[in-house]
């Protein structure tokens, strides 16, 4: 009598193997599907008021860069004082400017068909140089 009872209790025990299989399957699934996120940075700009277009003329230290679509006009998509410039040249130029004064206003004018990538690249270069006074105009 006692012996039979004990046998019944033993047969109820669960098999471990399939459960471990399932746990490993789950682990592998999540390891594969979980995509690590990038770390993001933010690049701050000021937007000029619509009626203050004439305002920047009061300031002396002013740098104007035009961002255009490089697929249509060639170059790398940046132009300084009417000349197409390479991003690397622009970087060294902005660094030189920033070494004199960090308060130089940089006015970025973007054409409507320019790619957002160019604007972000330029803003990143300005951030690298340490220039903080950036405003974006749209042409």
């Amino acid at each position: 009598m006692k012996k039979r009872e004990r046998k019944a209790v033993e047969s109820v025990q669960l098999e471990m193997t399939p459960m471990i299989d399932v746990v490993f399957q789950l682990l592998i699934f999540f390891l594969v599907t979980l995509k690590q996120d990038d770390i993001w940075s933010h690049l701050d700009v000021a937007r000029p008021a619509a009626d203050s277009a004439a305002k920047p003329e009061e300031k002396v230290d002013l740098l104007e860069i035009i961002v255009y679509n490089e697929h249509k006009l060639g170059g790398e998509g940046f132009s300084l004082r009417g000349n197409q410039v390479r991003l690397s040249d622009l970087t060294s130029h902005l660094k030189r400017v920033a070494s004199f004064s960090k308060n130089v206003s940089v006015i970025i004018k973007c054409t409507g068909d320019s790619r957002h990538a160019n604007l972000v690249k330029l803003l990143d270069v300005c951030a690298e140089a340490g220039l903080k006074n950036l405003s974006v105009f749209s042409l």
Binding site: K35, Q36, D37, I39, T111, G112, K121, L123, S138
Partner: protein, 137 residues
């Protein structure tokens, strides 16, 4: 003798508990990460300040994909609707930070449309999101 053999068997209950905890954890975190529009590919911007966890909780994120479609938290918006949302937030909290997640292929005129709406509402400062460190995987 029989007792000794029975002793080493494992109790299943805590293991099942742990498995359920894991499943619930992953289900919750996976749905949260879907709040971003995964189609948007950002440009590199390693020199900008990092967007950390100390971010202002009022920050409003606007997504602009390569076709110029506007969305926030993966919910697509029209320009009119975006303006309504920004205006009501502005009336409630005053000025708040705006982050624009623009795809690198987006044309500037689509970004401009979003910036113009921000300006119209009274938000002069906007920030663009870029990739500081690309994920290894």
């Amino acid at each position: 003798m029989k007792r000794k053999l029975e002793d080493p068997t494992l109790d299943m209950t805590p293991m099942i508990d742990v498995v359920f905890q894991l499943i619930i954890f992953f289900v919750v975190t996976v749905t949260m990460s879907k709040e971003l529009n995964r189609d948007i590919k950002l440009e590199q911007g390693p020199h900008g300040p990092e967007i950390g966890s100390e971010q202002d909780s009022r920050t409003f994120e606007i997504e602009v994909d390569k076709r110029g479609w506007i969305s926030t938290r993966n919910v697509q918006l029209t320009k009119g609707r975006l303006e309504e949302i920004l205006q009501s937030r502005y009336n409630k909290y005053g000025s708040f930070p705006v982050l624009i997640r623009g795809d690198f292929r987006t044309e500037h005129r689509d970004i401009r449309a979003v910036m113009d709406i921000c300006t119209k509402v009274g938000l002069w400062k906007v920030s663009f999101v870029a990739i500081k460190v690309k994920a290894t995987s």
